[in-house]
Every structure is written in C-alpha cells, then in structure tokens.
Symmetry: C2
Subunit: 531 residues, 2 copies
C-alpha cells in the first residue's frame, strides 16, 4: 500500500496524550495509513484513542531538547496534545499526520476501506432520488415532468441525472437553457408547496454578459413556471451591484424587460472567502482563554458569524413568505447556485414543510439539496478553521446551514424530529468521515469513483436502530404549521453545543439530552402523540 510510504515512524512508546475532559495518559502511539492510534494498556483504566487522520486540520510542532510536542487541532474543534520522546520521531509523526490528513486522491480516503460489521455494501445507497420525490408528490405531476436530459451528466455535471422541470419545456429547450446558465445549472424544481401549488426553483446565474444576451428558452421556462399566475419572484443572493458587476465576467441576472412576469429581489449573502474568514475569527474567539467578558463579546461581534446566520435565516424567511404567505413561485440563485442558493432553499423547506422536519425527512432533504444538487463538499470542507494552508475554495456554507437549523431547533424545540446531536454529527462528518456521502464535489464524480458501490452511506447508517435514539428529538411533536424563525438579533445566539463543544459546560448539556433519552426509553411516548 503506497500510503505506507508516508510513514517513517509507525510506533512510538512512552507518548503522553492530553485531551479534553481526561487526565493525561502515557502509552503507545501508532500511525497507520488512515488513523492515529493511541493506547495506554498499562494504566488501571486503559484508554484507546482512534483518530481518523482526515479529521486533523492542523498540526503544530514544538520541540524542546530531545523531545517534542505536537498540538493536533481537529476539524471538529477538538485539540489533542502529544508529548513524543525523540526529536526525529516527533517530526516523522508530524510529517505523516500532515501528509495523510490531506491526501488529494479521493480513492485513497478511508471510506473506501471502512467495513463495519453491521453494514453491507449491497445495502441500498441513499434515502431519496429525484424520481422518488417526483412520484411522492402527486399534485406535482399535472404541470411538471421528470426529465433525464442530464443522463450521463452530459448537460450539467453538478446535477443528478434526473431533474424536475415544467411539462411544456422539452429536453431540447433544456439543452439551450443549460448553455445560458453558469455550469449548466438550468432552473429546476426543488420544492412544491402542496397547499397552493407554488414552487421553489433553483439555478445558477444567467450568462447575459456585458452585451445583455438573452435566451428565449430560458425566458419560456420561467414563463412556464408561473403559467398565467400573477407574478414570480427571483431571489438573487447577491447585491444588485454584485449582480451588475457579474456581467463583466460573463454572468448576469434576469432583466425586467426580458422576464416580464418576474420580480427580482436582491439579498446579499456572504460567500466563500468572507464566510471562511468569519469562521476563523469565531473559532479563534471561542478559544480565547482570557477571562475578559468585553473582549469576548467584541470578538464575537467582530467575527460577524451571527450576522451571517441572521442573513441566511431572514433570506430563507423571505423565500418562505413569498411561497407560503404571498402565493408566488420563486427562483433562487446567486452566481454558481451551489452554495447560498442551496442554503436558503433548504431552510425555506424546513420552515414550510413538516415532512422535512422528521429525522428521515431532514436527511433526505440534505441528500437532495446538498449532496445530489452539487454542493462541492470536497472543496468547501477541505479544511476547517485552523489550517495555515492558503484558503482556496474552502467555505463553511454547510456548517452555516447546520447552525441556522440549530437556531430553528432552539426556537422551536418541539417541531423538529431530530436532535442537536445529529447536527453535531453532520458538522463532523462533512469534514472527515468513514462514510462516502460527503466525498467529491458532484454526483457525477461520486458515480465515476464508484462511491455508491465501494463506500457506505452515512444517512443510512444514522437511521440504524442502534443510532436512531441518539439522533431523534425525544420531545418531537410534529406540527403542520410553518415554523417562522425570529431573526431579531436578540433571538439568535452562538451555537455553543458546536463551537464550545470541548468545554466542560457542553458536557452538562449532553447530560440533559441523555437524561431525556433515558426517560423516553424507559417509558416510551404516550399513544396520544404521533412519533
């Protein structure tokens, strides 16, 4: 196995491990192609720590005399420290961790080797598909059709093979529309609102460019969406100025004159770099050990993270209002349509649609709107907030989604069928995982790599009866009503369960959840409540 070439020192004795909540332990450190293994067999309470190397975000070396100390900062914010005797051994270990934690080739990653006894590669992969989604919603079938124009990923590499489009738009027209949208992401249906038949569409920006190019088929497609109803809305996740500027680089927006039935609303959402910098600042603030309250609050403000949460929730609220309260169909896009577009369409669905709020429903929503819809997980979640590597395509958009969902969860503690644990687990898995779900940037690539044949599906694994209890909300009481989040700054707060998870306090909050689960397990829920 070629990974072994990166391992010059595989074993070190007498290593001291320091980790949160536990006393230091002395034992043997072992590096394999995918894991760091620490075992302390001799103490009265033997400890084994198995760390997936992929979950290491940064390694800091400090040497003194003949020994060294490695500080390992993980992508789940956990910080471990290893005191390693022997300078050379220490540097070897550091080098191995650094190299093996950032392998470029997806095929080398651990999901292709992970074989837990209670899962089989022949198990069904994934929870939902466009086809299922289409068949489930009968009312949809009047005016909408399933198109496999993207079979073989030939039209849009970041879309799944099947998509839902207006019945009156044929595949030839779709081909033309795809050429007019960045990355081929032509407008597709992602949500059908049962009570009034309105829909959410999503796409990338139209390639109008400096010359205000038009595409007749694109206009017809959108016309077909509103089909005589009074008006549709386009929520553009860029400021009006940003949208104008995009024309200089070939992008653009839907002009009023060409798209007469549609009204454009601009809501600027920060993307890639600004969001990543915000996360870095927040993580730094959370790790600040000074006892100064003013400094903490000022750093929290300065990170802007909560402002991003607020913007995402309020834009999603706007989208849901258009659909649910004002009965308009809405098209959402920014530039590429793979980040903030997915963020707000997902949140709006959670707000409006009770079927997305169960444990299964939420995972299926993530699968449809993030995995299949082409959020580039491999690029966005390559590093977390500690890495000194120059920022490339990293951006914590998915983490921002989970934070927003947590705010919803916290504001409506009975309305969501899943627990905070699920959100924490997903936040971890998106950055480093035993499962194949978040590998690669697109469905096409996952298909090419054989991800669905050679790795296990995280979502399926989370629904196993052994795991389910941990990820369900014991207080869940489904409601058919929309859950409108408050976006007042006073109503939003730091997701302490995630950002401060390695502090003593977070443990106490876990105790509450455990206590609740115990109560439920002992007694079950009364029959009067729907599970």
């Amino acid at each position: 196995m070629e990974l072994s070439e990166h391992i010059k020192t595989a074993n070190v004795e007498d290593v001291v491990l320091r980790q949160p909540f536990l006393p230091p332990a002395s034992g043997t450190l072992c590096i394999t192609g995918h894991h760091l293994l620490f075992s302390d067999r001799e103490s009265r309470t033997p400890r084994q720590v198995l760390l997936l190397l992929r979950s290491v975000d940064a390694v800091e070396k400090r040497t003194s005399g003949s020994s060294g100390t490695l500080t390992i900062k993980c992508k789940d914010l956990c910080v471990l420290q290893l005191d390693i005797p022997g300078m050379e051994q220490c540097l070897n270990i550091a080098h191995s961790i650094e190299t093996l934690s950032s392998l470029d080739d997806v095929a080398d990653l651990y999901p292709f080797f992970y074989r837990p006894p209670d899962l089989s590669l022949r198990d069904h992969w994934g929870l939902s598909s466009t086809e299922n989604h289409y068949t489930q919603v009968k009312a949809l079938q009047d005016k909408w059709r399933l198109s496999d124009v993207n079979r073989g990923y030939s039209v849009c590499p970041s879309y799944p093979p099947s998509v839902i489009v207006p019945k009156t738009i044929n595949d030839d027209m779709l081909l033309k529309v795809a050429k007019f949208r960045q990355g081929g992401r032509f407008p597709v249906l992602c949500y059908y609102h049962r009570t009034n038949g309105m829909v959410i569409m999503r796409s990338s920006q139209p390639l109008t460019g400096a010359n205000r190019k038009r595409c007749r088929e694109d206009e017809l497609l959108l016309q077909a969406v509103i089909d005589g109803s009074d008006k549709g809305y386009i929520i553009d996740t860029r400021s009006s100025q940003q949208a104008q500027q995009a024309r200089m680089t070939g992008g653009g927006f839907e002009s009023k004159s060409s798209y007469t039935g549609w009204k454009r609303l601009h809501r600027q959402m920060e993307r890639s770099k600004a969001l990543q910098e915000s996360l870095i600042k927040l993580v730094e603030a959370c790790g600040d050990q000074s006892h100064n309250m003013d400094r903490w609050l000022s750093k929290l403000e300065n990170s802007k993270w909560l402002s991003h949460v607020q913007t995402a929730l309020s834009t999603a609220g706007l989208l849901a209002e258009c659909v649910e309260r004002d009965s308009h169909s809405v098209l959402v896009h920014g530039s590429e349509g793979t980040d903030s577009t997915l963020l707000i369409s997902t949140l709006a669905q959670l707000i409006m649609d009770p079927s997305c709020r169960t444990l299964e429903g939420f995972l299926a929503l993530l699968e449809r709107e993030w995995v299949q819809a082409g959020h580039p997980f491999q690029q966005r979640c390559a590093h977390f907030a500690h890495s000194h590597t120059r920022l490339q395509q990293e951006s914590p958009v998915f983490l921002l989604l989970l934070d927003c969902v947590w705010q919803l969860w916290w504001q409506f503690p009975l309305a969501l069928g899943f627990s905070e644990n699920l959100l924490l687990r997903l936040a971890t898995e998106a950055y480093a995982s035993n499962y194949g779900t978040f590998l690669c940037n697109t469905d096409q690539k996952r298909c090419a790599m054989g991800v669905k044949e050679k790795t296990h599906c995280l979502f399926q694994a989370l629904l196993r009866s052994t795991e389910r209890g941990l990820y369900s909300n014991p207080l869940f009481e489904p409601t058919e009503l929309a859950i409108w989040p408050s976006v007042h700054p006073q109503s939003l707060q730091l997701w302490r369960g995630f950002f401060l998870r390695w502090t003593q306090h977070a443990r106490h909050l876990e105790e509450v959840q455990e206590e609740l689960r115990n109560m439920i397990n002992e007694w079950g829920r009364p029959d009067t409540r729907v599970k």
Copy 2:
C-alpha cells in the same frame, strides 16, 4: 378608603388594549386602589386582564386629538398599551396609575389586602429561622452558639433576633463588636461546611476610620472563628483602593497587624448605581427593534451586565474554593454588608451545599440570606429599569443573584431542584407582589408592620401542591458534589428567559418545560432516582 382619592376616573369604556402575543382587544378599563382591570366581555374570546398597579414601572402618555395612548411599562418587562378615548379620562387614568403604583406607605400595599381562598393568615410564616438552622447542623453546636443579643432588634436593626456566633464570644462582647461595624452588622455565621468544619461569616465593614481605630472584641471574635487553625480569609467586595477610601468616611477594613490570623482578598463588585445603570442599558438593548446584529452585540457588551454576572460568579467561586478546597473559614463583607456580601455568600452556598439546591432548600436559603439578613428590598426594588424617577437606592442586586443562579442552573441542568420558572417568578415578586415576603427593608420593620400576621408568605405559597410542579426541575438528580460554575465569558450568556421573556421565542422555551412536566406527571420518575 383613602386610596380612592387618587382615582378621578374609575371606569372607561371602549378602551383598546394591546399586549404581547395577543391581538388588540376593545373593552372596559377599570382602576381600583391596587389594580388595573381590563375586560372585554363582548368578543368571542372574552379577555380579562388584572394588573397589580405596583408592578407598573413607568407610564408614557401620548395624546392625539381627543384621545390618548398610555404605554405601560411593567417591572417584569411586559409592555402594555391602552388607547383611551377622551383626553381628560386618559390623563386621569395615567395620574392614578402613577400615584397608586408608587405608594410610599407599606401598610397601603396590596399584600395587606390579598386573601386567597387556599391560604390562611394562621398558616406558619416562612420556611426557616436561625434557630432551625442551628439545630439542624449538629456539628455546629460544638463551637458555636445561638445568641439572642439582638432580641427586639436593639443591636442591629437589619439582623434577625437570633444569630449564630462563636461560643467563646459572649453577648457583651457582641455589643461592642456591633458598635465597631457599620449598621451594627457584626460578623455572624451564615454557613457551616460539614465536611471540614469551615464556615462562612458575613458582616459589614469595620469602622476603623482615618485613625485606624481598633476593637479588641472584634479581633477576638474573628480569632475565635479560626481558633488555632492556620488562617482565615476575608473577602472584601471592594477594591483595595475603595476600602482605603472608605476610611475617610469612617469605614475601613481589617488591617493585617490587628487581625493576624486573617488574609484579606479584594474583589471589586459593582454596587448600587453602576449596577442599576447597567440594567437600564441592558433593558434598552433588549428592546431595540433594529435588526442589526452588530449593534445588538455591541449594546450587550456596553451594558456590562454579563461582566457583573461573571464577577459575581467568580467571586463566589473564590469563596467556595477557600472553604471547600483550601479548608479556610472566610469572612465576607463590602461596606454595608447588605448587597454584594449576600450575593456571593448565597452563590457560594449553592455551589457547595446540596441541601440548598432543592426547591425548599433554595427558598429557605433566600429567606435566611436575603429576607432575614436584611437586604433592603423596599429600597432596592422600588423601580425597575424604565422609570424616569431619579435613581435613589435602587439596585438590581437580587436580580443579579437570580441571573447568576440561572447561569448555574443552565450549566448544571440536573443539579438544581427548581425550575427557571421559579427564578422568573421570584424576579417578578421582588418588584411587585401579592405577598408580604419582600416588603420593607428589614426584619425589624416587617415585624413592626405586622407583615407576618397580616400578609401571606410567598415561599409557603410557592410550595403548595398546586404550584410545586411548575417550580420543580423535572430532571433534578441531586449530587453531593460541589457544582463549580465555569466563569469563562464564553460559558456565560444572557438570561433570555427573563430579559427577552415577552418575545415569541421565550414562549417556545416554555413549551419545552411544559412538555417535560407533562411527561413527568404522566409517568412519574423511576424509583432509582431520588426526588
């Protein structure tokens, strides 16, 4: 009844009431000596609102044409609005509310008239007494005695008649010590730590003055407390500089040379005015309707409220560490010994003593350490944060205590036997109440007014079986261990349940508590857990 003289207009028809969470209602407004009554009998869902006038903090008048609008800001942060037809009527109502909400004579207040059917004036008043406290702790009786030197409140008007002091100090000596301490508040025992016999004493500052006066008996008293053990600590809740300055106005501190067995630690805690201003700023920030996240966080920081919470908890932590971890007895005082002194002695007891953490135990602790120990509730809780009246003796020290207890409760969700509801109720009752518990500034005054004969006891009322469920923590699992709060700024947060209680979101949190209570009521707790 003379209160009626303040009522020129007793009834107004066609008044429109606006209050949080409910649609506006039109009905009849009626002012009595103690209440504002609104009733809307004609609508399909008749509404009656009975507001204790004492709970009104400020009234704002706005007139337009022939009618007026009163905005009534309550001491529990609720804001009501009344649209009143007729300018004169409106001004009359405003005048009545203003006058009747701030009556000076305690005997006029509603607790002297409140007669609920399920309570009797012959019921036992209060939960505990110094005598009970003394008899309960057997180990205490070796070296400590109960003194009734203060019978008739002749020595210290703000102490109860009985106090616990070292056995070797007789009443004559106490008389001399009392003369040497501000307000006669000589050092008394408030907590005995069973596992190591160490104690917490509290007092006011010694009156050393500019001439460094000494009092032999005071020195002997403190000497008797440590009685040969290695050292005692004095926690002075003022900065060293403030303590020095106090000498200029007759106050002072225990000098090293005169109190050889004692080591002084200074921890500056904000008192009266600064604390009141902090509350006013925080309340203003919480009511800010702008949607600006940065502005909110900056106002929150600027109010300094969370810094005060942090200081209180960390000083209490220091006190508990001295007693529990380092086995030293501690004397606590600032200037008067009626505010921050009580704050940190109470918090330290909650941290160390499991018997204070049950519902009854906590109420008894408040009764001993706040009501009987002479916190001047009447002065401190006269107004809340909206009143335009010039600040006098107002200071939200008790509210700060409740906030700190809430932080403990939130950090140790299983360790405290009472619910957030209890803290919210106490925060309301301290400012305006049907009960006599928080009336007057001292036990002496309550005695003189016949409070215990002519009003009902809040603490007894809260323990009635009908109320108990609401105020108990359904997840309570008593622990014998100390509960050490984290005082990292990241671990402390705004008490949203109180400060944002009239927002929609707080209602959802209440739903969770209700759901938990329902579950417990349906199933009870398993036998393996101690109630």
